[in-house]
Each structure stands twice: as C-alpha cells, then as structure tokens.
Symmetry: C2
Subunit: 235 residues, 2 copies
C-alpha cells in the first residue's frame, strides 16, 4: 500500500492495450457479421492466439459485448456532441438538426454497432449499470436544447396541449431532475422527438424503408423538419 496504485505500472499499461486490441478486433468482426455471430474463438484466432487467452481479459462473451456497447454509446455520444457544439448556441433548430444528422450518420457508418445499442436487447436482458451513463449523452444533448430555448424565451410550452395528470407529473419530475425550466408539455414533445429520431434511424438502418423510400437523405431531412416544428424551434 506504500506506492499502491501507481496508476500505470507497465503491466497495467500492456494489459490495457491488450484490452483495446481485443475490442478493436471484435469490433471488426462485428462490422462484418453482426453481433449474434460474434465468436470469441474467431477473435482470438484472428489475433494469433488461443481462445482461452481471451478470458484473461474478459470474463465472458457477454462482458466483451458489454464493453463494445459502452464504447458504441460513447462513440455515438462523442460524434453527436461534436456536431452540436459546432453550431451557434442561439440556433436551436440548427443544434437539433445537428444532433439528428450526427446520429443518423454514425448509425449508417456503423450499422452493426448501432444495432448493438438500439436494436433488440440480446439475452434475457443486459444493460448493466455501466451502460446507462454513456447512454444518456444523446438525451442530455437534446434536453439542453430545450433548456436553453426556455431560458432565452425562444421556446415555450405549446398552447393547446392537454397532458394526462400522470404524464404531466412525470414530466415535471424529469424536469426537476434533469432539465430545469422546461414546461411539462414541451418536455413531452421533446421526448417524442427523441423517440421519433431513433425510430426513424432504426427504420432506415433495419431496412424497413426498402421499396418505399429511395432518397433517404431527403426523407430524413423532412422528418427532422417536422420534428423541429413539433418542438417549436424556428428554423
């Protein structure tokens, strides 16, 4: 305990690099064959050693998948945050569109990783505690747009909206916990926008649009426009 966790002993550093390398290889396999076919043995083989060696770094296949899930959430979050940060703070519609397009672009570039985090939950269910932090980066980003809009007066509650009492109460609770100053009726619309964003991206990534919509870019733009209007932001 004298000099206990010398943050990075050489051994720890090598180990961390190994972990990264395994994840990178697994990610490559993922991109080629999807999550359900991800084989620990194949990953090990690909790296030139035997399958049991992987278990020095990940206790199980599920643990590897969980690590990939967390990385995916973070990659998506980073991409969206970067895109949103590049837009003028006062341009709420622009910020919203930036998030939407960043999510879609990342999903199209990494469809299997997107499926990993926004597709069917694979086993009974997973989502250990470690994943919820990275998972909320997108919602925080969207929520911040509402908060800023309300703070400057650019956004206000939709006039003629009626919320069921329980819904209104839940929205108020979320507002108090995370998004100060956003009226329940507006927050509800924000939640719908969040749902719709991932619904739209999932439909595209999971081939629901095949044979229906050809110009996917234009169609997505239209959907973003509709959502922008729905939350009351001025384009």
């Amino acid at each position: 305990m004298s000099r206990p966790t010398r943050a990075t002993t050489l051994r720890a550093k090598v180990r961390a690099e190994m972990v990264e390398e395994i994840k990178a290889t697994a990610r490559r396999h993922l991109a080629e064959q999807g999550a359900s076919n991800l084989s620990l043995r194949a990953v090990a083989r690909d790296m030139g050693f035997v399958s049991s060696a992987i278990y020095r770094y990940f206790a199980s296949r599920d643990e590897l998948l969980t690590a990939l899930i967390i990385d995916a959430y973070n990659a998506l979050g980073t991409a969206a945050e970067a895109a949103e940060a590049a837009v003028d703070r006062a341009d709420l519609a622009g910020r919203f569109a930036a998030v939407c397009h960043a999510v879609r672009d990342w999903a199209r570039a990494n469809p299997h990783e997107y499926a990993l985090i926004y597709g069917t939950p694979v086993p009974g269910y997973r989502a250990p505690q470690d994943t919820i932090g990275p998972a909320t980066r997108i919602t925080n980003l969207l929520g911040a747009i509402l908060v800023d809009g309300c703070a400057t007066g650019a956004l206000r509650a939709p006039a003629d909206e009626w919320l069921a009492p329980t819904v209104a109460a839940e929205m108020a609770h979320i507002r108090d916990a995370m998004f100060p100053g956003v009226p329940p009726a507006l927050l509800a619309r924000g939640l719908i926008a969040w749902t719709q964003l991932f619904g739209a991206v999932s439909f595209e990534i999971f081939n629901r649009l095949d044979g229906i919509v050809v110009d996917r870019d234009a169609w997505f733009d239209y959907q973003v426009m509709a959502l922008t209007h729905f939350i009351g932001a001025q384009p």
Copy 2:
C-alpha cells in the same frame, strides 16, 4: 394426374400438423429465451425426438425462423385488422387509435415475437419474398384511413407544408401504387406516423423507457394523440 392433388391426403395433413406443432413449440421456446437462443435441438428434444427429424420439415434453423416471422406478421396484422374493423368507418381518429393500440397490445403480449419482426434483422439479412406480403398489412390499414379520409373530405393536405421535390415525387408514386387520392404532403405525414408508431412501441418493448416513463399507458395515449393531430384527424 387423375386425382392428382387430393388437396389433403392423409400424409399431407399429418405433415401440416407436424409443422404447426414444431412452430408452436419453437414459439414457446422463443417466448422464454428470445430468438438468438432458439435451439433446434432443444425444440426437438422437447417434442420427444431427435434433432435430425426436424430437418424433414424445415431445411434449416433460418427457415424455421422465417416461418415464425411470417406467422408473427400475420398475428399482428390480424389483431390490428380486427381492432380497426370494430370502429365506425367515419371515425378516423378512432380507427387510427385502434390500430396503434392493437400493435402495442400485441407487442406487449408477445415481446419476443415482436422483436423477431421489428428488432434487429438477425443474420446478414433475410426477409425473403414471403415475408413482405404479411408485413404490409399494418401499412395498408393505416393507408386506408388516409384514403377514406381524403375520399370523404375529412382529411386534407396540410396547408403550409413544403416537401423536397424528390420526396414529393416518391409520395406521389406511392399514392398512385397504393393509396389513391392521398396528397403527397399528407402521405408523408402518414409515413411519419407509421415510423413513430413502431418507434414508440419499440422503445417501450426494448426497455428504452425504463427509469424515464412510469405510466406507459398514459404516455402511449399521449403519443397517439399527438400523431392523430399530426395527420389531421379529428378526435
């Protein structure tokens, strides 16, 4: 060729029953463990015979899954059609709500089957031709509401909508092929409603709402209400 296909020879009948029994058993396993863990051997074992016997009826595990997918589409379609048919034809909002609630109810009652058809596409991708017919029953139902509304004048194109030329052209094409009389701008909204419906149900079924929304019924009602308004139907 004299009495050639005596539609149901005894053998054919027994065979068909066997197929149904295998599917039923597989469906049971599915409900317990999800699609990725569905084991042909386990299904066979459960039915009291050896795994190779299954291959007399299904050429592969994927073929069994495809059969289950088609059944799932049909079960969902039947449920939605029945619910919608029970509503007064002139009550467009009621018909729309009936479809939405039927989809959600069926999904909650059969989450793994829902995941099978609206979750991540499992292998590289499948969706053989046989699945697209049953898959369109919901869209036809939703489209018919728009068609009827336009025919009676209860629905009209949203006034201030601007569609990109390619989107407008694609909507016009879909209208001509399937939904006569529905203006492009309204059809586009209908497509968004369709996307949003399954986006909302998927979010609920795939646990995205955990820790966010408690009263799922009220929340879904609210979403349906917003969509009803969005397509211009009077509640």
